[in-house]
Each structure stands twice: as C-alpha cells, then as structure tokens.
Amino acid sequence: MKIVLNGDPLEVAALTLADLLQEREVSGRVATAVNEEFVPASLRGSCHLKDGDRVEVVAPMQGG
C-alpha cells in the first residue's frame, strides 16, 4: 500500500497507524494525524490505513 508519511510517498506493509509507527521504528513522544484529522494514541491500533492516506507524525520541537 502506498501512503504519504510526513510529505514523502512511501510503500508500506502496515495496515494500521500503530503498525506503521512500529514498521518505521518511531518510538517516544509523538502525535499523529491522518488526512489532517488528529488520531489520539489510544486509537492508532484501530485506525486502518488506506491507499493514498496522508499521515503526519510530529514530535516536540523548539518554538517561540
């Protein structure tokens, strides 16, 4: 399945958002959104990905 992760097109095996984070070895403190909708950590396992989904994974960063 082809998705877009943080702006980059990507072929993935993961079927859910939780699987995707595991597949990409993303750990630690992140927040997620799929197609511009926030997906809480508790719902990542039941968030099924579809071809063409746009996934955003963000982490703490410096800000003003």
Binding site: V30, A31, F38, E56, V57, V58, P60, M61, Q62, G63
Partner: protein, 256 residues
C-alpha cells in the same frame, strides 16, 4: 496576583526555545534567568528522534510548558495542531497562533476567534496571540479565553511596543484579565515598558536567542520584567513638562 487559568507564574517572563546557537545555551538561558514558562512547538519527526532529546531537556528544566500553533494559517490546521500538542506535551495550555499575513505575521483575528471558541469547548486553555484591537479582545473573552496576548510588534522584529497607547487602553479596559505582551520585544527596556503599563507577563524569544550572548540577555530580560513590575506596583509619578525642584529651597544659604 492574577493567575493563568488558575496557575500563578513564578515570574513574569515567558521564554521561547527556538533559534538558540545550541541546546546547551538554550538550557543555560533558562537556568540563569529563571524564566518559568517555555514555549514549544511540534514538527515532523525526522530520523534520529531529535524531539526526544529536546523534550527531555525541557522536562529537566522543570518549567511550565506552553505549546504553540506557530505557522498555522487555518482554523482546521490550528485545531488539529492543538490536539496533537495536548497529547504530546500533556497540557491543556495552547498558545493559539493563526497567521494572517506572510510579511508581518499579523494574526488573522477572525479565524483566531473561531479557533479559540472550538478549542475552549474542547477543554483547552487558550492563550491567543492577538492584536491590540479591543473588540477582538472582547470576542476572544466571549469565546472563553481567560488570557490575552497582544503583539508588541511583529514577531522577531525587535521593535518594542509599536502602540503603547493601545496597549494601555487594553490594560484599562480589561483590568482583571491576565495580559501578556507577546512578540516584538528586542531590548530589556521594551520588556520593562510592557510591565510598567501593567501587563502581567512578557513573552519573547528572538531577542534572547539571537543576541550575541543569549544567556546574559535572558538574565537582562528577567531583570527588566521584574523592575517593570515593581515600578508599576509602586505607582509611578506622572510626567510633566516643566521642572520641579527636588531639593527643598527653604533653608538654602543666602550667598549673593
């Protein structure tokens, strides 16, 4: 003393965490100045997990965390970002930025009010980055905001308070609302000026982070906000046009 959604600040300096020459200098700027609030952001997680190291450092500082929605141009984008920030930083506080103009980074106050309403209803405690417009301020308060953060000048400009008249009017209009000058401060005198007007805190980033010596500048800013607050509370004299001798004339030796 006013509280920010029930939380008393340890001091009136809110300090940004961006643009420092190094993480070590950022850390020391906080430690040496004692700034009690840190603004932070969210960005795409790249390889290497830089976010984790930053988060650890901020936590070790033991400061209050104020995440922002910097760079958001639409209500939808700001609301989604706020939700992500609440989960990552584990706080209801959100510095709501909705940028309306590319060059001045002026807030889009129409979208700001709309987003503030949505977020307040979602349980957020919103710190809106706004202009000095009193009607917008009223709308933000009606939307549920309990803090207002008008700009001093455009973000990163270092111009100081562009419109002290309007900021003074805002202070007079909303005596009970915690007010923060956010953005535009370049020098300690600007920060002191905001506090002398009766503002409750000053939020700044670039003036410290881009100074030649950010650690020293952070300390200077802390000195300035403390001095400005003391001065405001001490009820300063009114300015006058003509001199008024401070040394008593009575009893002066007659020598001519």
């Amino acid at each position: 003393m006013k509280t920010f959604y029930g939380t008393a600040l340890p001091n009136p300096l809110m300090l940004g965490t961006a643009q420092y020459p190094s993480p070590a200098i950022l850390e020391q700027a906080f430690r040496q100045s004692g700034a009690g609030v840190a603004t932070v952001s969210l960005r795409r997680e790249g390889a290497g997990g830089a976010g984790a190291a930053f988060w650890q450092m901020i936590q070790d500082l033991g400061v209050l965390i104020l995440p922002n929605t910097a760079g958001c141009h639409t209500v939808k984008e700001a609301v989604t970002t706020a939700h992500m920030a609440r989960e990552v930083f584990d706080t209801k506080w959100i510095k709501l930025e909705l940028i309306g103009h590319t060059d001045s980074l002026q807030p889009d106050v129409f979208q700001l009010v709309e987003a503030a309403k949505i977020l307040t209803e979602d349980g957020f405690e919103v710190f809106p980055y706004t202009t000095e417009d009193l009607i917008v301020a009223e709308r933000l308060l009606a939307a549920g905001c309990e803090v207002l953060m008008p700009w001093g000048a455009p973000i990163g400009s270092g111009r100081g308070l562009n419109n002290p008249y309007a900021l003074r009017a805002m202070r007079a209009e909303f005596p009970e609302v915690p007010l923060v000058v956010d953005a535009g401060v370049g020098l300690p005198s600007h920060a002191a000026h905001a506090m002398e007007l009766g503002f409750d805190a000053v939020l700044l980033n670039t003036a410290v982070a881009r100074a030649g010596d950010p650690i020293a500048m952070a300390q200077a800013m802390m000195g300035a906000v403390r001095a400005g607050k003391l001065a405001h509370d001490a009820d300063p004299i009114e300015a006058r046009d003509m001199a008024e001798a401070s040394t008593p004339v009575i009893g002066k030796a007659f020598l001519t």
